[in-house]
Amino acid sequence: MGERVQPERDRMEVLKAIAQEGIQNAAKGFSSMVGRTIAVSDPVAHLVPLLSIPKYVSGPEDDTVGIYLRFDGDLLGQIIMIVPLQNALELVDLMMDVPAGTTQVLGSLEKSALGELGNMCGSFFLNAMAKIVKASFRPSPPAIMVDMVGAILDIVVATSLDAGEDVLLMKAKFADGPRSVEADFWVIPDIHALQALMQKSSES
């Protein structure tokens, strides 16, 4: 039993290190977009069984914004940023530097701003990961969805179900001074990418 637990713990340590570094770098991407320092606090990482994803999100019918991108290059995978609708409105306020509560609906401008946020955070996250594992990645343009969280996460589940059993969930709070907004990042390297990440990070 002990022999099984230790590699699992090592694996989690590696993934947590990648998550920590990646999220910190994503916050730099956010900062460069808004021109102010956006801090990130309490990044946490979990390895989650694919079919249990809905248990890690709020009600599966809740209105949610999903910012989705794929990456290719040396390794393949997907990143999805999941933000409850109310938090997404606050993120737009934060990006536009207007008082919280100003944005009431997500029009095309607001969606485009959130897409750009996903683009910046995703690219900066991948840059950090690339440095750790000495590989290169190219992100796709972001796709924005506003729907029930369960329906949005179907994309991740359906495209990964036969490839692997676990996905990496990272939660972090982005803070601009006293204002903070929580977001979830799901990073889903495909099965070969996950193995390569473990291999390369153990070598480094």
């Binding site: 809905p54 599966p60 179907d154 359906a158």
Partner: protein
Amino acid sequence: MKEPTSVGLGEYAISRNPEDVLVAYGLGSCLGVSMIDPVNRIAGLLHAVLPEPSNGTTRLDANPYKYVDSGIEALLAGLIQEGAKPGRIVVRMAGGANMLLAADMTRSFDIGTRNIVTARATLQRLRLSLSAEAVGGHTGRTVRVYVAENRVTVKVIGDKEQAL
């Protein structure tokens, strides 16, 4: 009032308890397939994720309810085991949306459409007729099966439950 029975990803539920409501929440590309024997009042709901196992995944070690084809077969077998008569079973389905609108992602990721096509073919093979469906498009759906009333509803974001 009894809590609804949540049918998660790759799961199914069968009930003959009139107090039961079976729910598959937030179906995107996933498909919710309901089967009801209205005479014996037996209802079942499947929440399938993929059309069929991909190459390299053997059916033997796979959960049949993850897949549309084997899930429908297993749900039908489960209903019959509970006393449902195949000729009376009313089938309805919802889901199979394509959640990604980005042009370069749509085609390769349209698992929703493949789920719908597989479900129709499987139902035809099993000689089950589909009495109603709310499928495709680009919106998520929640499907509820009310066992007591032989009733199925669908809800999309920002809208009320509608009878299916």
